[in-house]
């Protein structure tokens, strides 16, 4: 069987603990945030997704319904489900410079002797700390 002919291809992590339908929703949201998917793009058909992932068709339908409820996609009967909104907007332009900054930061962290685990822990703990000094 060939790959899915849409713009994106789904994958499933069976050990993530995240339900399959939610993984599909998250992957569409992520593709929107990264600008991989744009308004007007057709999402893979239910048949294409289940033929690729060997999952229940209802799982895909549920994911697409949720995307519709969130105003991100809309189904055209007999044609497919299409992306109707984008999440990336203007912020996408900032991705390049931010990625550069992050690379520099990671290099500095490694130079300081942090291993992968410490870097991840530091990032997550900082990311989750409520920002209080934003009003300066």
């Amino acid at each position: 069987m060939n790959g899915v002919e849409g713009v994106i291809e789904f994958h499933l992590d069976s050990r993530s603990g995240v339900s399959p339908y939610l993984q599909l929703v998250q992957q569409v949201r992520q593709a929107l945030l990264l600008g991989v998917l744009e308004a007007g793009d057709r999402l893979p058909t239910v048949k294409e997704v289940v033929a690729q992932l060997a999952i229940n068709p209802n799982t895909v339908l549920k994911a697409y319904r949720e995307l519709e409820r969130d105003g991100l996609a809309s189904a055209k009967p007999g044609v497919g489900t299409f992306v109707t909104a984008t999440l990336a907007d203007e912020s996408l332009a900032a991705h390049g410079p931010l990625r550069e900054g992050l690379r520099a930061w990671l290099a500095a962290a490694r130079k300081a002797g942090l291993d992968e685990e410490s870097i991840e822990a530091l990032f997550l703990s900082t990311f989750r700390t409520p920002v209080t000094e934003e009003n300066e």
């Binding site: 069987m1 499933l12 069976s14 603990g17 339900s19 399959p20 239910v46 048949k47 289940v50 033929a51 690729q52 992932l53 060997a54 999952i55 229940n56 068709p57 209802n58 799982t59 895909v60």
Partner: protein, 287 residues
């Protein structure tokens, strides 16, 4: 809507042994139902009853609203792929299709040909020379091309290697998406069932232990741990329990989330739920 399967007080006895007893079951239409349970729990008996290959000792069973295998029209609505992927070793792939066309009034030759083309199977090949995966795909092709409203599959992937298993389930799910038929499928491979099934039927010791929507089962089962205590949280039914000197670990069923202080609750996989239920009656018998 008419249930795909409706059983009431269904029982089957072989000599003095009950292979299935007291089974009340209703599977809604449009589901891919997984039938699980230990060996000898009655799965194959239940599937043979669904397919009309057996006559029940007690109770009744209706398939798509009628008695199984009652009339030719009823037979045409139900596809049955028995264990060991039934194909005739001496017949060619093409002869299997001709047989299917002859025996099934709703036979869809175009669907059969298209599937063979994609599988790379030749009309001239003998079934006996095919690999296990190819034989299973041939049996599935015959089941799909029959264009049934319900397809019953008894351990269709048990003998297949992981790749062939995945390819089989991909083909099955694609056909379900395209032709919208219901499925009842038995398997020991819980991880596969978790991807594929949206309804679960669990048999243990010839009895129905659990039946329900997978989503609902996942939403109502919890693994809770806490300082050792004998009494479960209020409203929770204990499925399995283990205790150390200090700690209790319970798998419980509860309609509402467990939020009692002292208990730490987490969600569980379908596999854990099935295993916990499988262990339960055995424990009760032993007690």
């Amino acid at each position: 809507m008419t249930p795909v399967i409706a059983a009431k007080g269904l029982g089957m006895r072989y000599g003095r042994r009950w292979a299935l007893s007291d089974c009340d079951l209703e599977i809604p239409p449009g589901r891919v139902a997984g039938l699980v349970g230990p060996n000898g729990a009655g799965k194959t008996t239940l599937m043979n009853l669904m397919a009309g290959q057996l006559t029940p000792t007690t109770g009744t069973i209706e398939v798509l609203g009628s008695r199984p295998a009652d009339r030719p029209e009823q037979l045409a609505r139900v596809g049955f792929v028995a264990q060991e992927t039934p194909t005739y070793a001496g017949l060619t792939v093409g002869e299997h299709l001709r047989l299917g066309a002859k025996l099934n009034p709703r036979w869809d030759q175009a669907v059969a040909e298209e599937r063979l083309r994609r599988l790379g199977l030749d009309h001239g090949q003998r079934a006996g020379q095919l690999s296990g995966g190819q034989r299973a795909q041939l049996a599935l092709t015959l089941g799909i091309a029959k264009r049934p409203e319900l397809l019953i599959l008894d351990e269709p992937v048990a003998a297949l290697d992981p790749l062939a298993r995945r390819e089989f389930l991909q083909a099955l799910m694609e056909a379900v998406a395209e032709h919208a038929f219901s499925v009842v499928m038995s398997s020991h491979l819980l991880a596969d069932l978790e991807r594929v099934c949206d309804y679960l039927v669990l048999l243990v010791s010839s009895r129905l232990e659990v039946a329900g929507e997978v989503e609902e089962l996942l939403a109502t089962h919890w693994l809770i741990t806490g300082v050792r205590r004998e009494d479960p949280p209020e409203g929770a039914e204990v499925i399995s329990a283990s205790h150390t000197g200090r700690q209790s670990t319970l798998l419980v069923r509860s309609a509402t989330p467990i939020s009692e202080p002292g208990w730490l609750a987490s969600q569980v996989s379908l596999e854990d739920i099935v295993l916990a239920h499988m262990g339960r009656p055995a424990l009760e018998v032993a007690a």
